[in-house]
Symmetry: D2
Subunit: 332 residues, 4 copies
């Protein structure tokens, strides 16, 4: 059995760690350090993949991963959105500090994804809402007040509409505009419907081939771009097969509370490893063209809200002059 | 056990009949007559619910239902789209004739649903693309060429954004504008992911409370509006629970081909009635907020394509002067 | 000479009064009372047309007209926008009181104009952003907190896309939903480019045939709807001929400061009455198809900003429970 | 008097030549060769600026300029649009041939301008509608049929929203993707309201600082990009001052037909040089903030139509396999 086929791929380190712990009978994973806190409806988890051993165990590159989980984020609550943006700003500013990024480092924000496909438009929407300042530093440097740094922002499009790998476009822009840091925003595929538009992941490991939901097959990394790359990802879609697999898992837990005979109810599905079961579900759905990527019906509103949260958070994190107590006021 | 709770509700007569036949060991249903044909990738099924017996059996009102199924409709094939629009035009024109609607009957097209929620925007998009002529008949009647009839079109919005039941708005408009026939376009919830944006249902039974995906709780029917109402519906969303239930059903069939012991693999899930199983899935997903309505990632494109197909089909069906061989040319 | 041909038509009472005063050698007009104040970059003028004499003199119906002029409103200053919304809320609430509209009177907001033509989309955009509550009063009356009143909101479309006069649609909706007051939002044609998207007029005289920039030929008035109608209008477009005429007028004033011989410079243009000159300009431009309605290049942003100002102002004016000090927080 | 201040700047060679000829008492300009033809409502003019003398005379770089003038293009006539696209395809293909661009030369299409400002969105809209093929040549070269060439397309954004000069972004993309030819699409400011959205200019002289309506201050030229650059420009906006100046000019001609005493009517305005008069108009309007860039009210529709015409024309011109007789079928 080729295990690689059976791997449950996830873009979230949080989910990868959970999967690894589940496979490890709930034991923590050597080489992976986690810390978690919850406040005001926002759960922040930091996962540090310390070495190759940890990396192999959870199938994530060594590096730092911060996850904000906000289950209520889909409920159009603008005061919660403001709190999330504020928390994001604080965590992001701290992250930059811990990574040793200087306060005036020049930043290029890259919004990956496709304008015209709503669940893939997160990156371009953030770019549209973020405050750019680089041109003031270039054209009227003496007029720029203290507390700002040069920020630029580009949405490079996707291979299917430009004909060029977005990584190539970004490389070209980096070479011409010379940022000190790239921040790449991307929509992700989730392993669970509940995460869609409720989870934000920040990491310092860049964007890698095969990640995300668009055609971004070449990476955006320190190796390819020559400067550090921080990725911000939000799950916006989920495979139909994932929904099914998730639900069988939930059924398992549901019946476990009532009986020890869950196998009677769920048959072999009950005892299968998650990866094996997902593979089975895919085998059934795929040939029928049923394994579509799906997104919640209200995606238009969700994507706009979360793009605003990220843009607001970045504005406050990147510019000291931006008031950190009412971050939303600076986006459109 | 309250069976009504366990009813698998579907907006499509086609699915309702299949469910009833399945429950009836594959036997056809008394009081329900069906005919089906397939051509050029388009399957047309006509279901006639002849009497109360048939109506009770499949849980659909007596009346006529035409379904166009076009599995390839999601593949951005503009020549297929044109063929579907042409077929829709022919079937719709025939339907009007069979219902005894006069050639010059005045038509009001109602686009139900919400502009700002992509999978619910089908109705408003059709209204935007359809050819309206009523004002020419009112203002410059002598300038209207032969082969046209008075057509008007309104998107009344949804309760959540107007504060008024769309049925009340439509009643008001009908009373003021005096059409002879109302055609109501609506996005539906599907019982199956494969039908989403691939199936078009036409019926003469109006729009009923609880149907569709928006808040359209009062009906649009001959009783409420005083004129015949033809409904055109397209499934654009599906519940997560439906996807899961469907998949378990597909697994059942998948294993049946290989073994007689499907119960071993799927446990009690295997022997449950579909309705019971769906209820179980809902019980597991609902409390966790996981039973979302979802839509394919590419919904922006799909909804625009199918709205064009319907608008083109209606233009050709309603106006004799519109060339039936290249229907797409008349929409924007 | 048929003077009616030469009338400079304007939708703004402010401009009508200025024209009349200019024709009257700067004397005030009998039957027309005006008061004006300026604060914080916002000039508020109230014009009361007291009787038929005043009405004939300024070619406006008897009634009350409030104008907010905010020259800086096009500068994307969100704090100014918030101040204007707050001022609008106060003036509108006071206006309702003075007109004797009860605090709990049911309100229907009508957004006239065309979604798909940006400078004509003001009304539909306000409808989209306004807070509707009528359905709560209908469906869950016991859950509605104090300080709210029933508000509904509909964008009826324009004749060219619906085939039905918007006045007929509104009449039908009024009859079915029984509001006590109608507020109609409309985009206007301005007599001056500087007013475009900087001026808001409120009046209690309804909407009349021929006003505005769309095809809204039948009026929305107390006579046609049976309830009071308050109109809110914003100039969003201007005729090319108006721009020219304005400029010649500005030239006249420009040279007047330097010389008494303005006639040498501007020839007969200098001594013509404004109306005669405008007619001349139209005679030159019209046959060439040059007398287009134009709008500033940045109309997308302007129209969104001013629609938000109006929606915010209405939310605060109509519901006592809405915080009048930060009105913008209640719109999307 | 600093004449440079008084120069009537125009992006169209056609207008530049007319200005120069007017200043030259209607005589043709040495070093400038023109040819013109008209067919089916489309006037095609080719201007060849042969040398420095011609260049200085009309203030345009040496090179070739093709202009399509279609006064009826604003009338939503889809069959005319199709004819214009077909004509554009033929002229563009011929132009490539005359410039010696090989049939399989790799092409990069650059859509300059701002997505979110309708009259400046021409470039991005063309990019969205054009057929890209480069990735097929890169990824599955054996699957590409004959008659296609590698085409890529990028909308680099504008300085105000990216913080980076679009010329820098384009340089980076050119270096990474190695096209043989760049085609740059841009919205222009017109010298005349009648040209707005009715005129298309093609030239081989690239894009130059100060042209266009956005902030594209560094050029896209063979010098900066290392490959030939063909520019396609459409006037989409006009200054208020231009409208006024134009109208005074039209008045002059209007009265000339009736009297020899035009000076009596128009005063000094009559005898001023066009450039002097425009300067005067600007002096009057500018300080009052009245000299806005304006665009016709119907710009949303116009810009979409002309973007489709250009995208269709380019698809047919660039790929031999595209049917030249029905070019519109290939765009969305």
């Amino acid at each position: 059995m080729d295990l690689s086929l059976y791997t449950v791929r996830t873009d979230l380190a949080l989910e990868a760690r959970e999967l690894a712990e589940a496979a490890n009978q709930g034991q923590s994973i050597p080489g992976v350090i986690s810390e978690s806190s919850r406040e005001n409806g926002i759960r922040v988890t930091k996962i540090h993949v310390m070495n190759e051993e940890g990396s192999r165990a959870i199938n994530k590159l060594p590096g730092h991963y911060i996850t904000l989980e906000v289950p209520a984020l889909r409920q159009k609550d603008s005061s919660l959105q403001n709190r999330v943006a504020t928390k994001l700003a604080q965590e992001f500013a701290l992250f930059l500090e811990e990574l040793g990024i200087p306060k005036l480092a020049k930043v290029l924000i890259i919004g990956l994804g496709n304008w015209n496909v709503t669940p893939d438009a997160l990156g371009p929407l953030v770019v549209e809402n973020v405050m750019v300042t680089r041109h003031y530093f270039e054209l009227v440097p003496d007029d720029v007040g203290p507390g700002y740094r040069p920020v630029s922002a580009v949405a490079p499009g996707v291979l299917g509409t430009t004909g060029i790998e977005s990584s190539e476009i970004v490389q070209g822009i980096v070479e011409k505009s010379n940022p000190d840091l790239v921040i790449a925003i991307d929509a992700l595929a989730s392993k669970s419907l509940e995460r869609v538009n409720t989870t934000i992941q920040i990491s310092n490991t860049g964007i890698h081939p095969g990640s995300g939901i668009g055609n971004k097959r070449k990476g955006l990394t320190q190796e390819t771009l020559g400067v550090p790359v921080i990725a911000i990802g939000v799950p916006t879609v989920v495979y139909a097969s994932t929904i099914v697999n998730n639900c069988i898992d939930l059924m398992h837990r549901h019946f476990q509370e009532q009986t020890s005979q869950t196998g009677q109810i769920l048959g072999l599905l009950d005892s299968m490893q998650e990866e094996e079961r997902l593979q089975l579900v895919k085998e059934v759905l795929d040939p029928l063209g049923h394994d579509l990527l799906v997104t919640p019906k209200e995606i238009d509103q969700f994507i706009e809200d979360i793009a605003n949260v990220i843009a607001s958070g970045l504005n406050a994190a990147l510019h000291e002059a931006v008031d950190k107590t009412n971050v939303a006021a600076y986006t459109h």
